[in-house]
């Protein structure tokens, strides 16, 4: 069976998350590419908005804020390629760590073909020369896996720190 390839343009955070959740109904597995306009912050399903995000700073900068259906941490979405993989659970390992490795494996290989020495780093990161270039988050619903991942195209660390509340211990 051929998978569906959905190649979306940039859209707002709310539609981006809505499209991914709607695609959980797809019988055919999906690979979706998209980006974010305006810039956005997403928080993981289990996170506290107040603890993770400076919502006033986001509002002042017209940055969308949205809760994902996947777990993981807060992410500032600016210059990046985002992908989602949505497929029946049985296509990959039922072990979450193994399934991260399997799905991230496609991205690692894609980055290698692009000419970069990418590596999967458990639990759910991809690095190049020891630095993180991609973070991933997963959820399982209705017998499906949904994995969100980002590939950083460029980083504005200054703006990131203005909108995310990053605890000191995370930076150690």
């Amino acid at each position: 069976m051929k998978w569906r390839l959905i190649n979306n343009d940039a859209d707002n955070a709310f539609r981006n998350m809505a499209v991914d959740e709607a695609l959980l109904q797809s019988i055919v597995p999906v690979l979706r590419f998209y980006s974010w306009k305006p810039k956005a912050v997403s928080i993981g399903y289990f996170q506290s908005l107040d603890a993770e995000v400076d919502t006033k700073a986001c509002k002042a900068r017209d940055i969308d804020v949205v809760r994902r259906i996947t777990g993981g941490g807060a992410v500032f979405h600016d210059q990046e390629l985002t992908y989602s993989v949505i497929c029946p659970e049985e296509l990959f390992s039922f072990d979450i760590l193994e399934s991260y490795q399997q799905i991230c494996g496609f991205i690692v290989k894609g980055l290698k073909k692009y000419g970069l020495d990418a590596k999967f780093v458990p639990i759910n990161d991809i690095t190049i020369k020891g630095k993180k270039i991609s973070g991933n988050a997963q959820s399982r619903k209705q017998g499906k896996i949904i994995q969100h991942g980002t590939i950083l195209l460029d980083v504005d660390a200054d703006e990131m720190f203005k909108v995310l509340k990053v605890p000191d211990e995370k930076m150690k």
Binding site: A18, Q47, V65, G110, T127, I128, L152, F161
Partner: protein
């Protein structure tokens, strides 16, 4: 802290001009290497209808502030 994140995070632009189209093609090709091929597609009408409902959920205060 900003210096710290710059030491721990990298991006495609650090390795030359960014070619997003090529990156996508290479990822698709990587799936193909594992026997997964694709048909380019758009959302179906019923999916677009569901997106409209879900978009309201993702915009809502209740969803975003529930924890």
């Amino acid at each position: 802290m900003i210096k710290n994140i710059k030491e721990r995070v990298t991006s495609l632009s650090s390795f030359g001009p960014v070619d997003t189209k090529k990156l996508k093609q290479n990822i698709i090709s990587a799936f193909d290497d594992f026997g997964i091929s694709f048909k380019e597609d758009k959302l179906k009408i019923e999916e677009e209808t569901r997106v409209m409902v879900l978009e309201d959920k993702f915009r809502s205060f209740e969803w975003n502030n529930k924890r």
